[in-house]
């Protein structure tokens, strides 16, 4: 289990760093999804096994819900990114300095 916990934690941190650093909106969404995968992995790794070696059904139900919500959020995010691209011609967030002078 320690192996999966460590893998999950690395995925969460890597996804979060990508989410923070990439100016590209789609890359932010990719980071968000990798981070989500890491969270799911930690959740399933800490949940104890049920009888018969299958995973904890409560954790499985939580993950199923999480996967559906993640795809809904990703689809909405991609749609908003497209709208942003159509409205501004950019698919990246402006730099902080440039954003400051826009106001």
């Amino acid at each position: 289990m320690t192996l999966w916990l460590a893998t999950g934690c690395v995925l969460v941190a890597a996804g979060l760093v990508a989410l923070l650093l990439h100016p590209s909106l789609m890359r932010k969404l990719l980071g968000f999804n990798v981070m989500g995968g890491g969270v799911f992995l930690v959740l399933l790794a800490v949940a104890p096994r049920a009888a018969g070696g299958s995973a904890d059904p409560v954790a499985q139900a939580l993950l199923l819900t999480g996967i559906v919500i993640a795809v809904a959020a990703t689809a909405l995010g991609l749609l908003l990114a497209r709208r942003y691209r159509a409205a501004t011609g950019r698919s990246e967030l402006p730099d902080d300095e440039a954003a400051g002078t826009d106001d």
Partner: protein, 297 residues
């Protein structure tokens, strides 16, 4: 821990790196599909067959298709960011975060498995054979109800935004031929997954994702069977069906059983199947709607 687990874990981290560091968006999106499939493999190794099915169908399949579709339209001037002192600081903080998280997770007191024991002990009372289905539609049915609501809200929000102009799809005879064989098979698999959910791994979410794949393939291939595109009333009805049926059963059957979201004893199996069938149709329609693809010209 064994060698296979170590290889799979290393591959997952390597694929995540490929997703996050890829030069162009299309390569990143395709790496994400591979990453999702590897996650499905990990869920299977951890004994979570239901999650593995959902990850393969939704996490890798639908999300991957959404990303590949968007990659062409969102292409930017290549990978930027990830240089300079800010990036270095964020990277170091990220590494520290991973260590703190890992330390916290490893030092968690091992859970006694109270929840899964409780589920196993209550299965007879719930009259549902498969534990995950029992959690989703009986013990924690409220969560599932709200989840369907969230999905519907996401669709409404997506459709409220004015449509983004996109290049029209063209009729492709090879794709149409392949889809003509694949779409009926996928519909069959979806119905099987729905039916299997009562007694073993499967259920509305996995079935809905596979059905969404079938409907999207039918649309991309311009098959004559595309009820959602030709009849807007049907599309809206199908989007709302899952939540409507779920609420109707929660109140109607719940009224008969004495509590909201409770099922009258003899009717549990039938009512769960009705809810799951409605959910499958709504989840499929929602995922198709979130794609925002019109009919080919």
């Amino acid at each position: 821990m064994n060698a296979t687990d170590a290889i799979v874990a290393t591959a997952a981290v390597a694929l995540a790196a490929a997703v996050l560091l890829a030069r162009d968006l299309r390569a990143a999106a395709m790496s994400f599909v591979a990453f999702g499939l590897l996650l499905a493999l990990i869920w299977a190794r951890l004994g979570a067959a239901d999650v593995a099915l959902a990850e393969a169908a939704i996490g890798a399949g639908v999300t991957g298709a959404l990303l590949i579709d968007a990659a062409a339209q969102l292409a930017g001037p290549g990978r930027r960011g990830g240089r300079g002192p800010t990036a270095l600081a964020v990277g170091l903080l990220g590494g520290a975060l991973a260590l703190v998280l890992a330390h916290g997770a490893v030092s968690l007191a091992p859970s006694a498995g109270e929840a899964s024991r409780l589920v196993a002990a209550s299965l007879d009372a719930a009259q549902i054979v498969h534990p995950v289905t029992a959690v989703l539609l009986s013990f924690r049915a409220y969560d599932t109800l709200l989840e369907v609501g969230v999905l519907l809200i996401a669709v409404v929000a997506a459709q409220a935004a004015p449509p983004v102009p996109r290049p029209p799809l063209h009729h492709d005879p090879v794709l149409a031929r392949v889809a003509g064989v694949t779409v009926p098979l996928a519909v069959l698999v979806a119905v099987y997954l729905l039916w299997a959910g009562a007694t073993r791994s499967g259920g509305a979410f996995q079935a809905g994702a596979v059905l969404a794949g079938a409907l999207l393939l039918a649309r991309f291939a311009a098959l004559p069977f595309d009820p959602l595109a030709t009849r807007p009333v049907l599309r809206r009805a199908m989007l709302a069906l899952g939540l409507a049926v779920f609420i109707a059963v929660a109140l109607g059957a719940g009224g008969a059983a004495g509590a909201v979201l409770a099922y009258p004893a003899a009717w549990t199996g039938a009512l769960v199947l009705v809810i799951e069938a409605a959910l499958m149709l709504s989840i499929a329609a929602s995922l198709v709607a979130l794609f925002g693809v019109g009919r080919p010209q």
